[in-house]
Amino acid sequence: MLYNEAGQFSTRYAQDRRVFRLRQDRHALLALLLFAFVAVPYLGNDYWFSAILIPFLVLSLAGLGLNLLTGYAGQLSLGSAAFMAVGAFATYNFELRVPGLPLLLSLALGGVCAALTALLFGLPSLRIKGFYLLVSTLAAQFFVQWALTKFSWFSNDSASGVISAPPLQLMGVDFSSPAGRYLFTLGVVVVLFWLGKNLVRSELGRNWMAVRDMDTAAAVIGIPLLKTKLLAFAISGFFLGIAGALWAFTYLGTVEPHGFDLNRSFQVLFIIIIGGLGSLLGNFLGAAFIVLFPILLSNLAGLLPAGLIDAGQVENLQKMVFGALIILFLIKEPEGLARLWQRFRERARRWPLRY
């Protein structure tokens, strides 16, 4: 039996509260972390780090950011990319203009700037609900992009408005190599997911879900709606901001405001739809899907005899399959890949019994 639960009883609430209650799960997580931190840097190559693993990690984090707001607190947003942009450009400016500021601190401060921006555009959320709220997040999307392009101060007056990342150094250690950038990203993402996990299991997380499921009832039991919603916007903005900074610093090494356009917001939204709304694991699954699926498809198309299907048609096909999958997920598995995984795990817990 894979899962031997015999003898594992929670005798204290603290044990029951654990993120992973079962010993097997904790061991698996530990093994996974060890694998990611120790084995992967040795096994991976440049292509895997630069083109797959780093964007996967960063997009998982962005997914987490939006998931807190949309999946947990139930506030639909199409402004994710704007908050990512604020995080990226703020971090860049903190690094540039405050000499000697440690990288991690500028990253956190960049996140705070994004949080404040998100807070501002979240203000209407008390009065405006549902689709009407989209207009606020879209206003953020367009306004931020415009402001970052317009005021060249944000990009240190570079003529083209493109910022490029300073060397990645942390306490004297250089993280500029692909493996280094991967480890740096992984470290930040693991810490932030730990934080996210604590948040969704805390009082605030429950309040978010309460507001999501029925805000009138939430108000009646004394949950302060405005504070709860605004915190959702701010914390979501914080996570997205750091994701944006990582996108610029550890993934691309450069970024322009246009890199955080509406399509990026959609991409993050698709991650959480496919991965699973209101699931932490879902962010990883969704991001893995979004990163790997197009690459897989274009590689598979490469297998076909040349001339049968050109690169452009593959892209069109990918777009169609993508759209179809989104609809399919919404119809068949609204809780996303995370739910599939959960079912699989439940079966594994009972295996070999079937009931």
Partner: protein
């Protein structure tokens, strides 16, 4: 475990498919193509990469480069930066043993994102007619080549042309010029230089921004109508161009006083505007048309043989297609030149870089290539990665482009200090020690 197994099975599939069907390709020179054939900018991508690929096929049909055959593979970027990066990482190591010569993304965003990587991987990054202006300074950017024309040269040449039309640069004083630019880093890039030129020559300059994507320009053109400028410089991109021409007609501004820049100069930019585009002037680094010996050769050896890359054969000889051909000529010439130094065999990116840096195309060589009049005379060096800086002006007659000027040169001496200052700033930000170009061979 599910996640891991999902990941690993995907990984397996990716690596399997990447390595399957290995065709022996030793002894060939490889061009990784970050192409884009769908999405909003597909028209540019299909034309450019069509011309590029057709030229490579043409070279192969005629024995390759000193016997070395050329090979290539495409990776669709859809003009999206991170897809371009993924393609770069996927293709940079060559194909089945054939080493990569250079990357040609034809996208400012992808070029920026792969700039550092190109330097680290020692793979030339070719940004023909676009890219970072300051990468012209090869001492700071050894692997970046904004061939023929960087953005600053572009506007300088346009101002020089307007000067010519007005009867001399001294007559520019008191003229009124409006620049209508795309609301993006690309669009804004030349604003400072334009301002500097305005200060120098004494014309008045009004900068008007059109928000991306540019499908509404009513207010900008009403402003233009009010300002009554002598000329409008159109720094457009994609849908912004035809809409600009249509909106100009709407407010009664004559099309022959509008000068399109290098990304407003294709058939796809003018034709959708229909009658409104008649008379529209734009710059080009190369004429459109099919009459050059090299394009005739492509027609004979590639297209008529049924191997042409264009889905729509009508686009043969268009601006984007010919740009692809020009780009092919420059890449292949760099390879040929480098072969003279390193031997007639497939070369590494580092070796091809040498070829680019010593690229020299005079009229005699261009004639040999059958590209006289298609490609401008070009000489690159360690400190000058642009090499040309000249454009010709063409006018749309409702059906096609007609050349209306000879080569007009940008004032490169004037621009050089600005470019160097910018490159120095970049070097400082990145901690790069510039090469000493007097020592370079």
């Amino acid at each position: 475990m599910f996640k891991r197994s999902l990941l690993s099975s995907l990984a397996l599939a990716v690596s399997l498919s990447a390595t399957a069907f290995i065709a022996k390709a030793d002894g060939e020179q490889y061009f990784p193509l970050q192409s884009y054939r769908v999405g909003p900018y597909a028209a540019g991508g299909t034309g450019f990469f069509g011309g590029f690929i057709d030229y490579l096929k043409y070279v192969n049909a005629n024995g390759g480069v000193n016997g070395v055959k050329l090979t290539w593979s495409e990776c669709e970027t859809e003009y999206v930066v991170e897809k371009g990066v993924e393609c770069y990482e996927r293709l940079k190591n060559g194909l089945n043993g054939a080493p990569a010569a250079a990357t040609n993304p034809l996208s400012v965003g992808i070029a920026y994102a792969t700039l550092d990587r190109s330097t680290a991987d020692k793979l030339p990054l070719i940004t023909i007619n676009h890219g970072r202006t300051d990468s012209t300074d090869g001492s700071v950017f050894p692997y970046a080549f904004p061939l023929q024309l960087n953005p600053y040269s572009e506007v300088s040449a346009i101002i020089n042309y307007i000067g010519q039309q007005s009867g001399g640069l001294d007559k520019l004083s008191g003229k009124k010029i409006v620049t209508l630019y795309h609301g993006s880093p690309y669009g804004k890039e030349t604003n400072e230089v334009l301002q500097a030129l305005a200060d120098k020559y004494g014309f008045s300059l009004t900068l008007l921004e059109v928000p991306h994507p540019g499908n509404e320009q009513q207010s900008q053109w009403l402003n233009i109508r009010r300002a009554k400028p002598d000329w409008v410089i159109l720094r457009g991109w994609g849908v912004m161009n035809p809409v600009a021409l249509k909106s100009a007609q709407k407010v009664g501004f004559p099309a022959d006083r509008i000068i399109g820049n290098i990304w407003s100069n294709s058939e796809e930019d003018a034709a959708p505007a229909g009658a409104a585009a008649k008379g529209f002037i734009s710059i080009t680094t190369h004429p459109s048309g099919t009459t050059f010996p090299v394009t005739q050769g492509i027609k004979k050896d590639v297209i008529d043989a049924g191997h042409g890359d264009l889905a729509d054969p009508k686009r043969f000889g268009t601006v984007y297609y010919n740009l692809g051909v020009v780009n092919g000529i420059l890449n292949v010439e760099a390879v040929r030149l480098a072969q003279e130094k390193y031997g007639h065999k497939p070369l590494t990116g580092e070796q091809v870089r040498w070829g680019f840096e010593h690229l020299k195309l005079d009229d005699a060589r261009l004639k040999e290539l059958g590209a006289l009049g298609l490609v401008q005379p070009l000489q690159l060096s360690c400190s000058d990665h642009e090499g040309g800086g000249a454009v010709r002006f063409q006018q749309w007659d409702g059906e096609k482009w007609n050349l209306i000027s000879d080569w007009v040169q940008a004032d490169r001496a004037l621009l050089r200090p600005i470019i160097e200052a910018s490159a120095q700033k970049y070097a400082k930000e990145k901690g790069i020690t510039p090469r000493d170009c007097s020592q370079a061979s």
